[in-house]
Amino acid sequence: MTDTEQRLAAIRGDAPPKRHNARTIAALTGNPGCTRRAVLDGAGVDKPALAERVGFPARFGQSRFAITRGNVFEAQVKADGGAELLRLVAERLGVPVPAAASWTDLGDGDDPATRARRSATLLTEALSPTGSHPAESAALFDHPMLGLSVAGQRVHLEPDLVAARLGGRFHVVEIKSFPVIDGQADPAKLAAAAVQSAVYVLALRELLTARGHDPQLVSHEVLLVCPRDFSNEPVAHLLDVRRQLLVVRRQLDRMDRLDTLLADVPADFTADPAADPAALADSLARVPARYAPDCLASCELAYFCRHEARGQTGTLGRPVREALGGIADVGEVLALAGGEPATDPERAEAAALLRTAARLRADALATA
């Protein structure tokens, strides 16, 4: 165990590290400037339990209806050994639909490490050692067990996904049950799916690299299979995830340098959900967070951080903070607006703006 691992284990407490999945890794790409989150996620802290313990439980419930619908649609698309899926994928890629394709379910077994090895072997089996003569036969792999290194730790990803090998290249195929209506999907859901797929592309590329193959055999074009319009008819769309790949890569690299972040974290910092709530809250307060309203949608600790950041202009959203001259504290904003001189010469301009704004606002309210 390295020093960093020991520190992270101490921060986490007795529990084993929380497993990452593509969704949690994708969530890491939001708010990359938050140290608190980087440390907690790097340590694999059970954030939902932590948030509950400090009195700000997260609200990330998922409706049973949504889960059922997702499972039904996925089963429908994957039925008959993926025959329908193969047709959709091939047609969307513009390659002739193969007469047949092998279907390998890599989902059996319990031990993640064994499963990951099996996945890697079967996925690369048909590739020639140099990768120069890509395999021509089409193949679909369901539930591959992939691995990714997150904050120096090997994380197993168990995607509900199919890796399709067609025309010698691998494509990540993501089956989502949100509808695409007249060619348009919910932008938020689409964005989340794109980041998740990028995580899978990265993991697949790492797998190929580790086995001595060209990582570029995994396409940056991901296939998103969704129900069309208001029906259950699946339709495939191509999604270019190059931008998301860069973002995820950059954030993972940043987490690899967790030891640098940890240098500024107090030695007795703990985020062990078993600890005393008051002590926990004090401890958390010593590692800076960068709360933004977007956190509410992606981080379990967001309500805690929001409470902590009350009175800060950042809680009103970045546009508001910027319109207030970038001044962080609401009290200071109002003091400057009220005519108090700015102590920091760099804030003189912001102070003048706020003073004028306050005068104009008062003037308009008085004349109305």
């Binding site: 998922q62 949504a66 509410l296 009103l316 207030l324 306050a358 004349t367 109305a368």
Partner: protein
């Protein structure tokens, strides 16, 4: 985000209650709007689960779908909703007025009033848009017939959803948007989308601060979400068992099972229903802006045109606009957005304050006025009075710029001199033209007098003629060329 508005948000944080960002109401409110609170089934493609709808607080009708995955029940819901929405819409087609067009050579008619739909939030608007999309192409004959009012409802809902995109339209209003147009809360825009929290800030219940009321409103067990998405906890714990019980029920127990679902959904919808009327009350208390009625005329025009289109058995709105239609629509929306921004500033000194801060408007006192000044340097002498204003506002208007004043919209003012004076004040000399009657003597009151306080701005309320677009048959090759004929069959495979 303007600094004036951001400052109001900061003041809201400090004072614990939302702060006004408008002094007048910037939208039209119907005397009898139709309030509609929809709920959708989680995970499905806009499958309606329930709706509470009505045009008076005590007149809430609850519609529910006991099996939201059942398509027949979905269309039964649409038919029930149509039975409320269509008579409401038709109720506005009783009286019309004649409008002279083409310089009085022709006349057209427009209804005296138009329907207005109110939903809790922008997601509610999306819900209606998609419900319109899923019903307007349905056939009343053929393999999967639906009642004739269903496609008609779809066309009307699509009309409302399209109007909602039109800046300044009040045909379909999301309550959260209407409220944030007039108040700034001490929370972020994301949190303002939650109607209970937003109203908590604007009108906190007794003894609570806005922040406390908003925090309380975030607990879905106290304050159910304002839809269309339901609380997952509610889905899992209460709704799912009730729907299962209904599905398993036999003849004897079905009525009871249905009543249970109805009770659960009524409990989820009633708080939002009440908040809608509270929000409406707050908005009604504001005096309407001077140009609100003229914008509502635009809604009445659009309503009349769509009603006429339907009377003439017009086709449903296409799934996608063609190139020419899309360009024309974009142009129309952009023009409407510009006009709406200007009109709000003209109507409301608090909105104008945002432009004063950025130097696009100034308010000053008239120090000198020369109402008889005549410019005889040209071929004909013309009346060009000058006034000198003293302002404390930051003046970024260049010399030679044309300004206008909200209180004298027919008159133009050209900037002649801009001179900094003592105490950070600025002297501005303006030369006036227009709006002073004929001849070389200004009609009484048409030239500002010494001592008057006036606002001048670069924003112009003047009419801008629309651009000309080719017909669809003349779509330029850069935009795909003329559309192929007969390709757009508005039929859809039933899957």
């Amino acid at each position: 985000m303007s600094t004036v508005r951001a400052l109001a948000a900061a003041q809201a944080v400090a004072s614990g209650v939302a702060q006004p960002v408008a002094t007048v109401r910037h939208l039209h409110l119907s005397r009898r709007p139709l309030v509609l609170v929809p709920l959708a089934m989680a995970g499905e493609a806009n499958a309606p689960l329930a709706a509470m709808v009505g045009s008076a607080p005590g007149d809430a009708r609850l519609l529910i779908v006991p099996q939201p995955r059942n398509r027949d029940q979905r269309f039964a819901f649409a038919a029930e909703l149509a039975a409320i929405v269509l008579p409401y819409v038709d109720g506005h087609r009783t009286a019309n007025e004649a409008i002279a067009v083409d310089r009085g050579r022709d006349v057209r008619y427009r209804y005296l009033d138009a329907p207005q739909l109110l939903v809790p939030n922008p997601a509610g608007v999306t819900f209606l848009r998609l419900l319109g999309r899923s019903t307007r192409f349905r056939r009343v004959d053929g393999e999967y017939p639906v009642p004739p009012q269903v496609p008609l409802l779809g066309r009307w809902l699509t009309y409302f959803a399209e109007r909602a995109e039109h800046p300044g339209s009040s045909a379909l209003v999301a309550m959260t948007q209407a409220l944030t147009l007039h108040w700034a809360t001490g929370q972020s825009a994301v949190e303002d989308l939650h109607l209970p929290a937003l109203l908590g800030w604007i009108a906190p219940p007794g003894g609570l601060s806005g922040a406390e009321a908003a925090a309380r409103a975030e607990d879905p067990s106290i304050c159910p979400p304002a839809g269309p998405a339901t609380d997952p906890e509610f889905d899992n714990r209460l709704l799912a068992p009730a729907i299962e019980a209904y599905a398993d029920a036999d003849e004897a127990t079905r009525v009871e099972a249905y009543a249970e679902i109805e009770r659960l959904l009524r409990d989820q919808l009633t708080p939002t229903w009440e908040l809608m009327w509270r929000g409406l009350g707050l908005l009604r208390a504001l005096p309407p802006g001077a140009r609100v009625a003229a914008r509502w005329d635009g809604d009445r025009d659009a309503f009349t045109a769509h009603a006429d289109h339907l009377d003439a058995d017009g086709a449903p709105q296409p799934r996608r606009d063609g190139a020419v239609t899309a360009a024309a629509r974009l142009h129309r929306l952009e023009r409407a957005a510009a006009t709406y921004a200007v009109q709000r500033a003209y109507d409301d000194p608090l909105v104008m304050a945002e432009y004063r801060l950025t130097g696009e408007a100034l308010v000053g006192e008239v120090l000198l006025a020369d109402p008889t000044r005549v410019d005889d340097s040209g071929r004909r002498p013309v009346l060009r009075p000058r006034i000198q204003l003293m302002t404390t506002d930051p003046v970024l208007v260049p010399v030679g710029a044309t300004l206008s004043s909200p209180s004298r919209p027919g008159q133009k003012a050209r900037t002649v001199f801009v001179t900094p004076a003592a105490d950070g004040k600025t002297e501005v000399v303006l030369e006036l033209s227009g709006g002073m009657g004929r001849g070389l003597t200004a009609s009484p009151g048409s030239v500002p007098e010494v001592g008057e306080r006036l606002c001048y701005t670069t924003l112009s309320d003047a009419y801008v003629p629309g651009a000309a677009f080719p017909t669809a048959d003349e779509t330029p090759w850069t935009h795909g060329g003329p559309p192929a004929t007969g390709a757009a069959a508005p039929d859809e495979q039933w899957a």
